[in-house]
């Protein structure tokens, strides 16, 4: 089997790409990703997707269109568009946001004739393994090969960014800013307007939360009342950790305009998780019209305020 499979580099890609990549390459397929987001991708996507849909979804459609252009010999044979419904059943059922659940149907509605390779992951109905073996069967692979590929994919190392809250809490010099947000926003340099680079350039140390799904059980059981959204829970747990860590000076919560879950999570963070914490939170909502200058100004003023606050507390 030597199909060429294209994977749009957006949305769930940032959560599961090692697994997908390993699985397909173990099956003997060639994997091509659509590359980094750029201006034309966003513009193409935004022209097709309903205008009140969230930015990452517009971005996803743009990536699919870019891959579609490469369709046909000697380009891409199939585009991998998974449907993520339920990714965790224990200890509680965790669902994905509606755009993940309807993604293949939606792309079919938007763009005609997409050579789509879809996969339903709904752990309430069948295990992930069965789903992937079924997918391999559709690609014409033997069940033995499929099983090997799945095992390899399952055990593939997941990438971790440095999520640990730094130990030494008393370095007064550098400001530590924690980033909150979906992986598909924070890891996409174009979508998040290179926020990490900007913060580093302003002399801050950036702390980013972990992309893996390991539940932070000790915290979750005590303080945070979870939601039924998987990706949102990750943000809530991280938010709780940052709000109550001495070493974090400020939190920036990056949201995309039209992100439905975001309006709920930011409310939970403000009302339920904050308690006595005084860590300032800056909430920035971005969409395809967000301009760099305004963005930079808001970051700078936030950093300035933290600096002033820090100076005052050190004098006292």
């Amino acid at each position: 089997m030597s199909a060429v499979i294209g994977i749009p580099q957006a949305l769930a890609f940032y959560y599961c790409h090692t697994m997908w990549r390993t699985f397909f390459s173990e099956l003997g397929c060639q994997v091509i990703t659509s590359g980094m987001t750029d201006r034309s991708i966003i513009q193409n996507g935004a022209a097709f997707v309903p205008n009140e849909a969230c930015l990452p979804l517009k971005c996803y459609a743009g990536h699919v269109m870019k891959l579609c252009e490469q369709h046909g010999t000697p380009g891409i044979d199939l585009i991998f568009i998974p449907r993520l419904v339920c990714m965790q059943t224990k200890p509680a059922v965790k669902l994905c946001c509606p755009k993940f659940i309807g993604l293949p149907d939606m792309i079919r509605g938007l763009i005609s004739d997409v050579p789509m390779l879809s996969l339903d992951i709904d752990l309430r109905l069948r295990s992930q393994e069965v789903a992937f073996l079924d997918l391999a069967g559709r690609l014409g692979c033997s069940s033995h090969l499929a099983r090997c590929a799945y095992d390899a994919a399952e055990n593939a190392p997941r990438e971790h960014s440095d999520d640990a809250v730094p130990e030494n809490a008393h370095s007064t010099e550098q400001i530590r800013i924690a980033l909150l947000g979906h992986r598909y926003l924070l890891d996409d340099a174009y979508l998040c307007l290179n926020i990490k680079k900007r913060l580093c350039a302003a002399g801050c140390q950036v702390v980013d939360h972990a992309p893996d799904h390991s539940p932070l059980t000790n915290i979750s059981q005590t303080r945070v009342q979870p939601t039924s959204w998987l990706f949102e829970d990750e943000i809530l747990f991280a938010a709780f950790r940052y709000l109550h860590a001495d070493s974090i000076d400020g939190i920036i919560y990056l949201l995309s305009f039209g992100c439905g879950a975001g309006s709920i999570t930011s409310e939970i963070i403000e009302h339920e998780l904050r308690d006595s914490s005084h860590v300032p939170i800056l909430r920035i909502i971005i969409d395809e019209h967000t301009a760099e200058a305004g963005f930079q100004t808001r970051l700078e003023s936030f950093i300035d305020m933290i600096r002033i606050k820090k100076k005052q507390s050190s004098i006292e």
Partner: protein, 365 residues
């Protein structure tokens, strides 16, 4: 115990009957109005969907009128924001300094609801069960009668010589239902309803356009949010069939009891499955099923209502549009928020109706 809950169309008639039989006093906010929307919007998160804001306004109204207990719909696994209404609204209301007891109504909260009923009935299980059964029976009868009146009204209005008369009749009968407390009076009322609607003079000559109303449940059911679209279009000789009513929402969607309607929920979902495999929360899958049904049963057009930023409906919108092209059925989408006004709304609808009339004339010619 003074219980308050949100409005949704004529749902309050049913729920009031149920709760009063159980021994609660029901204290409600006035039907949603501009003030409700203003106060809800002021306290709700900016980006949240419209039903959240209006129902939050309802809750404020209940508390101002003296309710000491609020019932929220909660529990269950939702991929849409609807599952978090109760949780967030509670924290907003307590943040405003209100003190109240909360009841979450959902599959996970059966135990606490039972114990509340038990307490209300002087700690006697016999009385509790007797009252609960009686309450359920009368609520069901009322709900069915409301459904009948709404159906007759929306069918009669477009062909009546005097549509205002129909609306008056509907309003009066709904008041009667709300007042009656016995099943026997309801049965007598049912006969009166049928006779009254039969006696209305009908027989207008113009062709009647038939429109299917689909979308998000609250927007379709609550007349304040959809600017009484069913009544207003009925006055313009347009028959509007909503895919969902308060009765159907309560019984077939919440309690999963299948009703004998022209298109059951299950069947609608099955029809929609090839194009939209999962229902994600806001009745998207059932809506798609109804669009397909309408296209196959000679409806003239589809109107789709959703709150601005509704997660499931926004995701499903491309599918609606694709289907409308496939079936050649005109489709008009509205995304409503607290800034929507009836003027813009009806201007767009009138233009849409003009197109539909031209189109049906062409078909005839």
């Amino acid at each position: 115990m003074k219980v308050g809950f949100q409005h949704m169309g004529n749902l309050s008639i049913t729920l009031r009957a149920l709760l009063e039989s159980l021994g609660c006093e029901v204290v409600l906010a006035p039907r949603p109005n501009k003030h409700t929307a203003t106060i809800g919007t002021r306290h709700a998160p900016e980006m949240v969907c419209l039903p959240f804001k209006i129902t939050l306004g309802d809750m404020f109204g209940c508390l101002e009128n003296g309710a000491d207990t609020l019932a929220f719909i909660g529990g269950g696994d939702w991929s849409c924001r609807f599952g978090y209404y109760g949780r967030i609204q509670c924290s907003i209301l307590s943040g405003c300094g209100f003190q109240f007891r909360k009841i979450f109504v959902g599959p996970r909260d059966v135990k606490s609801i039972a114990s509340t009923i038990h307490k209300l009935n002087n700690m006697s299980w016999t009385m509790s069960i007797k009252n609960a059964l009686r309450g359920a029976a009368i609520a069901y009868h009322k709900s069915k009668l409301v459904e009948l009146i709404e159906t007759l009204a929306r069918q009669t209005r477009p062909i009546a010589h005097n549509p205002a008369m129909v609306s008056k009749l509907e309003h009066d009968f709904l008041m009667d239902i709300d007042r009656s407390t016995r099943i026997s009076t309801l049965i007598a009322l049912k006969r009166r309803v049928r006779n009254a609607f039969n006696d209305i003079q009908t027989g207008r000559k113009e062709k009647i356009l038939r429109i299917m109303l689909v979308g998000e449940s609250y927007c379709v059911v609550e007349p304040f949010v959809n600017f009484s679209i069913i009544e207003q279009l009925g006055n313009r000789q347009v028959y509007v069939e909503p895919f969902l009513t308060a009765h159907r929402w309560l019984f077939s969607h919440l309690l999963r009891k299948e009703e004998n309607t022209y298109l059951s929920k299950k069947h609608a979902q099955k029809m929609a499955q090839p194009v939209w495999r999962y229902g994600t929360g806001g009745e998207d899958q059932v809506s798609i099923g109804h669009l397909m049904y309408a296209a196959e049963h000679d409806y003239d057009g589809i109107i789709h209502l959703m709150p601005f930023g509704c997660m499931p409906e926004t995701a499903a919108l491309p599918v609606f549009e694709r289907l409308s092209k496939y079936y050649h059925i005109p489709f008009l989408n509205f995304s409503l928020d607290e800034h929507s006004g009836p003027e813009g709304f009806y201007t767009r609808i009138e233009a849409f109706l003009d197109c539909l009339r031209l189109r049906s004339d062409e078909h005839v010619a």
